[in-house]
């Protein structure tokens, strides 16, 4: 209970709120305009995700769970899980650059989309409906491209342990045409990369239009004035409360994992951090704009590296790799095979037999199974843990895996940045204006589902 003074009153908001939003419970203590105390209760939609993941039959099903903890951060979450699993199996150094570039490409696309969606919400919170609608239109366009190319509007189902499901990238056209499978794959191996070109050019045209909206928005005084000094946070306290992602960057705290602990190929890119020092809603808005530009640059670099710097051999390699891992859902077979191997206690040869056996079952040739065998040779259960960390659009996502029993990870956990940011939000919302609450909350871009996992 809050300590009340004369004229103070308290009220609750949630779990079911106005509009379309996730279920969370806010408890306010206020005296007319000033907000004195705020209590946030989450946990209304806890789905027991970790136990659900433990009940799955193979690693790919665990990825499906990880993606659906927070749907708007599906790619980053599945990537963190895959990095953790690859760390566990000792595959981190063995992955080809193509796989890393493809992962970076989609991770940045997701970041870009989330930031544009948030710009739409921020504009809406300052009652500028036109720019809000324009941003939302371009975010929708990016989702439509995602659906067209990778078969999911939220970039689900691309990552697998040890690779990417290239099948998912090229499968759609094949399914739509209902054509012969072999034609879709073998005739034009570079076709997969044309899809990246399509995404890059389309997103580029959207970014041009978005830049115009951003420019006009920054000239709109009512918009900037509402954001300035709203929801200001102190850098020292924010650091103590472990603010993450955009919130930390807006207060000048550089906690970007892409810079501090580079994964994939971020080390090569020499990124510059997007930092602002004011810590208010405007800074968070500007950080997002900076990151949109940065993400688009990374998308362009990834695309260029994928197409120009890679030789035909590389393309063939990645194609074969993707085919092995994604084509026939071999990952499932792999896990079953390892499980069989582990339980029977036989040697490497017998495992190879197992692989070839499963291939024969599928009616596929054995010629392209070399990469796959190599990848999973080290997939022997051990007592160590695998760790994966990814910078999502809102901050770092950490995943830890362990206790591999031949099929799935029995010990598994994932951490999103929102728990920390909720603490920061709660602390710095006290003694602010009630009118600014919506702007303040929107600029943090919380995902309640990620906390209620």
């Amino acid at each position: 209970m809050f300590k009340k003074f004369l004229g103070d009153y308290e009220f609750i908001w949630g779990p079911v709120k106005k509009g379309v939003c996730e279920s969370s419970y806010y408890h306010f203590l206020t005296s007319s305009e000033e907000l004195h105390e705020l209590d946030i209760t989450l946990g209304y939609k806890t789905r027991n995700a970790m136990n659900a993941a433990k009940g799955k039959r193979n690693l790919y099903e665990q990825i499906l769970i990880m993606e659906r903890i927070a749907g708007t951060h599906a790619f980053a979450a599945s990537l963190s899980y895959c990095l953790a699993a690859e760390d566990y199996f000792g595959l981190t150094g063995k992955l080809p650059d193509c796989v890393k570039l493809i992962r970076m490409f989609f991770a940045e696309l997701e970041r870009l989309r989330n930031h544009i969606e948030n710009l739409s919400e921020i504009s809406g919170s300052t009652y500028l409906e036109v720019p809000s609608s324009l941003y939302a239109y371009y975010a929708e366009k990016i989702k439509q491209i995602s659906s067209e190319i990778v078969f999911s509007r939220y970039l689900m189902g691309i990552n697998t342990v040890g690779g990417v499901r290239l099948y998912n990238l090229s499968g759609r056209e094949f399914i739509m045409n209902n054509s012969n499978k072999n034609n879709a794959f073998t005739d034009d191996k570079a076709a997969d990369f044309k899809r990246f070109e399509y995404i890059a050019t389309e997103v580029g045209s959207y970014i041009k239009d978005i830049e115009k909206i951003i420019k006009q928005n920054s000239e709109t005084k009512s918009h900037i004035d509402r954001l300035k000094t709203t929801g200001k946070i102190n850098a020292e306290i924010a650091e103590k409360l472990h603010a993450e992602g955009v919130v930390a960057k807006s207060a000048g705290i550089n906690r970007d994992l892409r810079l501090k602990h580079p994964y994939l190929l971020y080390k090569v890119l020499a990124l510059k951090p997007v930092l602002y020092n004011d810590g208010d809603a405007l800074s968070r808005y500007l950080v997002r704009i900076g990151e949109i530009r940065q993400s688009f640059d990374i998308i362009k670099i990834c695309f260029e590296k994928l197409t120009k710097n890679m030789s035909k051999q590389h393309i063939d390699d990645i194609h074969e790799q993707g085919k092995n891992i994604g084509d026939t859902g071999k990952l499932q077979h792999d896990m079953r095979s390892i499980y069989n191997y582990g339980s029977s206690g036989s040697g490497n040869n017998s495992r190879s037999d197992n692989f070839s056996g499963s291939n024969n079952d599928d009616g596929n040739s054995d010629e392209h199974t070399g990469v796959e065998r190599n990848l999973f040779l080290s997939g022997v259960p051990h007592n160590k843990y695998g760790f994966g960390s990814v910078e999502s659009s809102e901050g770092p996502i950490f995943c830890i895996t362990g206790g591999f029993d031949g099929k799935i990870f029995k010990k598994i956990n994932i951490k999103y940045p929102f728990e920390n940011n909720f603490r920061v939000f709660k602390h710095f919302t006290k003694n602010t204006m009630m009118m600014d609450f919506n702007i303040n909350e929107t600029s943090y871009n919380f995902s309640v589902a990620a906390c209620d996992k």
Partner: protein
């Protein structure tokens, strides 16, 4: 502010003509089609061994494919002819992960996607699309109560946030739900439709009943996504190690034992998908609005 009015007008109308014509975007798909004639394993193994191929069924993480069930209950001769090969993919459970297609090249040829939306939210494909709406289809007289406007109250009962994002997308200029007279309302007392997303957790169930009590009749409940319909990827995860079955049964709204009475009395419409496409949600809302479902 005047500049934004000018910019808005300059931007022009970007909305689809959707209810008038099916002008969907390039990557849109609504439901799966299953053509048993093209699934070679399906036919060959049946005729040779008398047993169907189960590769896709084994791979399915949500148990949406049930070749065995239909095989046991029917005459195998019918299957060889493809006459009864309808109930193979249950779209009430399918999360569109594509594992079945990845797993078996034969089902890959048999499965294709439809971008056709039928009036009653089903399509003509040979999949298990018997979306049993509790509402009766109006044969003679249309229910035109919501003809002019429809107010929707959204409740999140444990979704991943993607469904919310899709529902919120209905307000963007591309779909522009307002032009069709459909609005999101903050209060259940003004609502005609309750749009439920998520796995229906126990904590949210009490709140849902509260909202339902406050919603006036006549009313509809639309279940958005596979989570409230069957639990999707979460189904059957409640009673596992560490979790109490009574507290956490992520089996969805339809399978929840508490909802026995509600299912009999309420008008429930299902919109499958993970997450459901905005076009699908819009189609269900339009069907309610135009009175295709009688009370």
């Amino acid at each position: 502010m005047a500049i934004w009015t000018y910019n808005g007008l300059k931007f022009g109308i970007k909305s689809v003509n959707f209810p008038k014509e099916n002008d969907f975007y390039e990557g849109f798909f609504s439901y799966l089609k299953f053509d048993a004639d093209k699934c070679l394993n399906y036919k060959e193994t049946l005729t040779a061994n008398g047993l169907p191929c189960l590769k896709c069924q084994e791979a399915c993480p949500t148990g949406a494919i049930d070749i065995l069930n239909s095989y046991d209950s029917k005459n195998s001769a019918n299957y060889a002819n493809g006459a009864e090969a309808k109930h193979i993919i249950d779209i009430k459970k399918c999360i569109y992960c594509g594992l079945c297609v990845s797993e078996c090249s034969n089902i890959a040829e048999a499965v294709s996607f439809s971008n056709f939306i039928g009036k009653d939210n089903t399509n003509e494909a040979n999949v298990k699309n018997d979306i049993k709406n509790n509402v009766k289809k109006s044969g003679k007289k249309k229910f035109g109560f919501f003809k002019k406007s429809l107010f929707v109250k959204h409740i999140d009962s444990g979704s991943c946030g993607a469904c919310e994002s899709e529902i919120a997308a209905l307000n963007n200029p591309y779909y522009n739900m307002h032009r069709l007279g459909i609005f999101i309302t903050p209060s259940p007392r003004f609502a005609d439709v309750i749009l439920l997303s998520g796995v229906f957790t126990d904590k949210m169930s009490e709140i849902f009943y509260n909202v339902l009590d406050n919603t006036p009749n006549p009313r509809f409940i639309i279940l958005a996504g596979v989570c409230p319909i069957s639990g999707g990827i979460w189904s059957g995860s409640g009673g596992l190690a560490g979790g109490s079955e009574s507290l956490l049964n992520n089996c969805g709204f339809l399978n929840n034992k508490k909802n026995g009475d509600i299912l009999k009395t309420e008008n429930i419409i299902l919109v499958p998908g993970c997450p459901p496409n905005p076009f699908m949600i819009l189609n269900a809302l339009l069907s309610v609005k135009s009175g295709d479902f009688a009370i």
